[in-house]
């Protein structure tokens, strides 16, 4: 689209216009940071992800420096090779878990939000059973209540939950993991699962190799102390791996159970699909009733697309998403009309849609006035919510939440990524020991009532740090729906 005023060269003006146009990530309302011009997305709070990365790098580095030379000499050359492959896989899956979109659901547009409000108002007068801000659907014969998200201004799809840390609704929300510094949801669950499985093998492998190394060195009556003195790095590895193996292997086992039964951590903690006492029987409506099929659908299923279109350009005269801040809106409506022939038909119709849409969807008043003033689309404009913060592209100081009770910064929250600390668990006998494992887990949990709830971020898989929190399991049970 060339500017109508006579530019020196239309192509140059077009380039300038492209540069001036903002991308959608620049006005993204959630608490995320973007890098590489929107290609990479991370949660604004990186949690203890640098610690995770550091531990992996240091331990693996020590392994290659101290243990591999000895073991290559005395055992086999495969040792560094296997270790290297596992290390690479661990790193890649960790980075993919951290740097990818977990399945963020974009917030409702003002029109959509208004339509939903209208429906709620209409049904409020007639509904008598369910609270006004829930919608009941029957999924595979099981009644499921969909909750309304006040931040995103929409009814959350099934299995979607709002992460308080990232301030986004995430599809198939599992938990927010500070160890990887991101939510774990529909799109990155397979990366997360691969990460913890590879990490289990990696830590177990290093632990085994270090033990073998020290045992070989201590042979001939030389003693363990002598062996440790010869190879001090191994001592560090031994300590790290000893504590890590239990928790990571346990976590992998737990998530294997979740994958096999097609549940999320969120649902498991809330007991959504556990049999209620005295109520009607509930079954997981999403499970395929077949362990293999469940595993394959979650881990090998088609990769869903990212819904937030980070790198798309903002239409020049549109306020994006509900409650967007005032943006600089250049006067473009007349220009777009004239230059419309250069676009495809879809663009024509879309721009026709957007120009009139603007004046109805941005009630906050804009620097310029749109010529289309005769629109009466919205009965009431979309309310501005004060909690919209476009993510700045620069990095802010990451919050190192080593304690998992980070104080809530906003009172208006909802959705509860549950906090869980696994200290010890045994992978086999998953179904039997699961309830006992729950008792071992100490966590702070506030159940998701769909309204204003405050929940600290989830902590999963501490490598060494064990944090005991009080569990509110009873409370979660009573508030289960």
């Amino acid at each position: 689209m060339a500017a109508p005023s006579h530019p020196p060269a239309p192509a140059r003006a077009e380039e300038e216009r492209q540069r001036r146009r903002r991308r959608k990530w620049q006005v993204f309302p959630g608490k995320n940071r973007f890098y590489c011009d929107g290609r990479v997305i991370v949660a604004r709070k990186s949690g203890v992800m640098p610690l995770t990365l550091g531990l992996i790098l240091i331990t693996s580095g020590l392994f290659f420096v101290f243990d591999c030379p000895f073991l290559v000499q005395h055992l086999t050359v495969c040792v560094p090779f296997i270790g290297g492959v596992l290390f690479v896989f661990v790193l890649i899956t960790l980075l993919q878990t951290t740097l990818s979109d977990p399945g963020i659901m974009p917030r409702a547009t003002p029109d959509e939000a208004a339509d939903i409000e209208k429906q709620i108002d209409e049904s409020g007068s007639t509904s008598h059973q369910s609270p006004p801000r829930t919608r009941e659907v029957v999924i595979n014969g099981q009644l499921v209540k969909l909750k309304y998200c006040p931040t995103c201004k929409m009814f959350r799809p099934p299995r979607t939950s709002h992460c308080r840390v990232c301030d986004n609704c995430v599809e198939r929300f599992d938990h927010h993991c500070p160890w990887v510094g991101n939510c774990v949801g529909k799109r990155n669950y397979r990366f997360f699962y691969s990460f913890i499985v590879f990490l289990s093998f990696h830590t177990a492998f290093i632990f085994g190799c270090v033990t073998t190394h020290l045992a070989l060195r201590a042979q001939g009556g030389k003693g363990l102390v002598f062996a440790l003195q010869e190879s001090p790095g191994s001592a560090v590895e031994l300590v790290v791996c000893f504590f890590s193996v239990w928790s990571i292997v346990g976590l992998s086992g737990f998530h294997t159970y979740l994958v096999a039964s097609n549940r999320t951590t969120n649902e498991d903690i809330k007991g959504s699909w556990s049999a209620k006492t005295g109520g009607e029987p509930v079954t997981n409506p999403y499970s395929h009733r077949n362990v293999c099929k469940n595993c394959c659908s979650i881990l090998c299923g088609p990769m869903p697309p990212s819904l937030i279109d980070r790198r798309g350009f903002l239409p020049e005269d549109e306020c994006v998403q509900t409650g967007g801040k005032d943006m600089e809106l250049p006067v473009v409506s007349t220009k777009t009309e004239i230059n419309v022939c250069a676009q495809g038909t879809k663009g024509l119709l879309e721009s026709a849609a957007r120009s009139p849409l603007l004046s109805s969807s941005c009630p906050q008043g804009k620097p310029h006035s749109c010529p289309d003033n005769h629109l009466t689309v919205l009965p009431h404009p979309a309310p501005q919510s004060a909690n919209i913060q476009p993510a700045p592209p620069g990095s802010s100081a990451p919050h190192r939440t080593k304690t998992h009770n980070s104080p809530p910064q906003r009172t208006k929250t909802h959705g509860s990524p549950p906090q869980r600390t696994k200290t010890h668990s045994s992978p086999p006998q998953r179904t039997k020991t699961h309830s006992s494992k729950r008792r071992k887990h100490t966590e702070t949990h506030t159940s998701n009532s769909g309204l204003e709830d405050i929940a600290p971020p989830t902590s999963v898989d501490p490598e060494r740090q064990r944090h005991k929190h009080h569990r509110h399991h009873n409370r979660s049970k009573t508030q289960r729906h």
């Binding site: 690479v88 896989f89 890649i92 899956t93 993919q96 659901m105 974009p106 409702a108 547009t109 029109d111 959509e112 339509d115 659907v137 029957v138 999924i139 595979n140 499921v144 969909l146 929409m154 799809p157 099934p158 299995r159 599809e171 198939r172 397979r190 990366f191 691969s194 409506p285 999403y286 099929k293 394959c296 659908s297 881990l299 090998c300 299923g301 088609p302 990769m303 869903p304 697309p305 819904l307 937030i308 279109d309 009309e337 419309v340 022939c341 495809g344 038909t345 879809k346 024509l348 119709l349 879309e350 026709a352 849609a353 009139p356 849409l357 109805s360 005769h374 629109l375 009466t376 689309v377």
Partner: protein, 158 residues
């Protein structure tokens, strides 16, 4: 082309956005992407029910094809796991290919069926796959609830 351009400009100049209808998701079969085929009352005077239902059913079929769990998706998944999922950076997944087909289909439907009736379908991917948004345009010249829009031939040769 010039004639169509003028017609489309006429449409844009003479039509204004009157209302939007949102077709919600149908969750009866789980979280797979499927939209309700219930015919909204606002479109009763605008478009034939069968055309609308055909559009929605075709969209549902496309999404079912994209999310189908079968041989090809397993292959894709296993290959991806073996390459530590780096393959997603290189190749276009089947889902993305189907999304392109959907975008093309929606554009075609808009050109041939919906725009001549003063309607416009927005691709669900632009609304987070939550709704199919149908914008209803009214003739600016007419008052009240007139349902006519300027006559447009519709399709543009591309």
């Amino acid at each position: 082309m010039a004639t169509e351009f003028h017609n489309l400009q006429e449409l844009r100049q003479s039509a204004s956005l009157a209302n939007k209808v949102f077709i919600q998701r149908d969750y009866s079969e789980g979280t797979t992407c499927k939209f309700q085929t219930k015919f909204p009352s606002e479109l009763e005077t605008r478009i034939e029910r069968s055309l609308f239902e055909d559009t929605v059913k075709t969209l549902n079929n496309y999404y079912a094809e994209a999310e189908k769990i079968g041989g090809q998706s397993y292959l894709e998944g296993c290959l991806a796991c073996a390459t530590a999922y780096l393959i997603f950076l290189c190749i276009e997944t089947r889902y993305e290919k189907v999304l392109k087909k959907i975008a093309k289909y929606i554009q075609e439907q808009n050109e041939k069926i919906y725009a001549p009736r003063g309607l416009l379908i927005t691709d669900p991917i632009e609304r987070g796959m939550r709704v199919v948004e149908i914008s209803i345009y009214e003739d600016r010249g007419s008052s009240g609830s007139s349902s006519s829009s300027s006559s447009v031939s519709g399709s543009t040769t591309r």
